[in-house]
C-alpha cells in the first residue's frame, strides 16, 4: 500500500506562488473574522450585563 503524502509543514511554499498568495489572503481574512466574532461575543455579554443591571438590579431598590 502506498504511503499517503503530507506537506512538509506550514511553511512549505514550494508548491508555488499561487498557493503563497492564497495563504496570505487567508492570513489577511482570518483575524478579521476572529475580531468580528469576539466583538459579537463581548457585545452580547455587555448587553446581558447592562440588561440585568438596569432591568433587574436597579428596580429591586436600595439596600445597605
Amino acid at each position: 500500500m502506498a504511503e499517503p503524502s503530507y506537506p512538509a509543514g506550514p511553511h512549505d511554499y514550494s508548491s508555488g506562488k499561487a498557493e503563497l498568495e492564497q495563504l496570505e489572503a487567508a492570513m489577511d481574512e482570518t483575524p478579521r473574522g476572529a475580531i468580528v466574532v469576539s466583538l459579537i461575543a463581548v457585545g452580547l455579554l455587555m448587553i446581558g450585563w447592562l440588561g440585568l443591571y438596569f432591568l433587574v438590579f436597579i428596580p429591586r431598590g436600595s439596600v445597605g
Binding site: M46, G61, G64
Partner: protein, 181 residues
C-alpha cells in the same frame, strides 16, 4: 504578510481600549448604584455573644419581630437558627426606611428577600444589619441561602410588606403578622 508585528500591536491596543471602555462603563454603573441609588453591600461589624442571645437585651424572644423605635425607625429583629427563623413572619411597611437585624446562635446562615436586593449572611457572633425600602407590597419569601444542615431547604420565613396606611404598631410599638390590622 498580513499579521505583521505592527498589525498585532495595533489589534492589541484596540482591544485594550475596548476593555478600558467596558471597565469604565461598569465602574460608572457601580458608582451610580452606590451614590445615587444607595445600593451598597450590607457591612455592619457588631459583635454579640451567640451563647447568650436569649439573655441579651436585644435578641430575647419577647423583643423579636418588628418594632417601631421611639425615633420612628422601623426595625425587625430576627434570629436564624437551625432550621427556622424566629419569628417566622414579620411585617414591614412599604415606602419607608426599614432596618432588618439578624443574628445566629449556631451556624452560618444567610438570607435574601425575593424580588429585592436584600441579601446578607448571618454569622454566629455578629449582628447582620440591612437597611432598605420596600416598594411592592405582599408576602415576600425569605429563604436561608447558606447551606446550614439537613433541614436547610425547609428554612424560610415570610416578610409581609403592607401599605403604609395598613401598618399599625401597637402601644408598645410592636407589629406582628397576627395583629397588624
Amino acid at each position: 504578510m498580513a499579521l505583521s508585528e505592527e498589525a498585532v500591536l495595533k489589534s492589541e491596543l484596540r482591544w485594550a481600549a475596548i476593555v478600558a471602555v467596558i471597565v469604565g462603563i461598569i465602574l460608572i454603573a457601580i458608582l451610580y448604584a452606590a451614590i445615587a441609588m444607595h445600593v451598597n453591600p450590607p457591612s455592619n461589624a457588631e459583635y454579640i455573644d451567640p451563647k447568650t442571645l436569649h439573655l441579651s437585651a436585644e435578641f430575647t424572644e419577647s423583643n423579636l419581630g418588628t418594632r417601631v423605635d421611639p425615633d420612628g425607625q422601623v426595625v425587625a429583629r430576627v434570629i436564624a437558627t437551625q432550621f427556622e427563623f424566629v419569628p417566622n413572619c414579620f411585617v414591614l411597611p412599604a415606602d419607608r426606611d426599614v432596618t432588618i437585624r439578624l443574628t445566629s446562635p449556631d451556624v452560618i446562615h444567610g438570607i435574601l428577600v425575593t424580588g429585592t436586593n436584600v441579601n446578607t449572611m448571618i454569622m454566629p457572633g455578629w449582628v447582620s444589619q440591612v437597611h432598605t425600602v420596600f416598594h411592592k407590597t405582599g408576602d415576600l419569601l425569605m429563604p436561608c441561602h447558606e447551606f446550614c444542615g439537613l433541614g436547610h431547604s425547609q428554612m424560610m420565613a415570610t416578610v409581609r410588606v403592607v401599605p403604609p396606611q395598613d401598618f399599625h404598631p401597637g402601644p408598645d410599638g410592636r407589629v406582628s403578622c397576627d395583629n397588624r390590622g
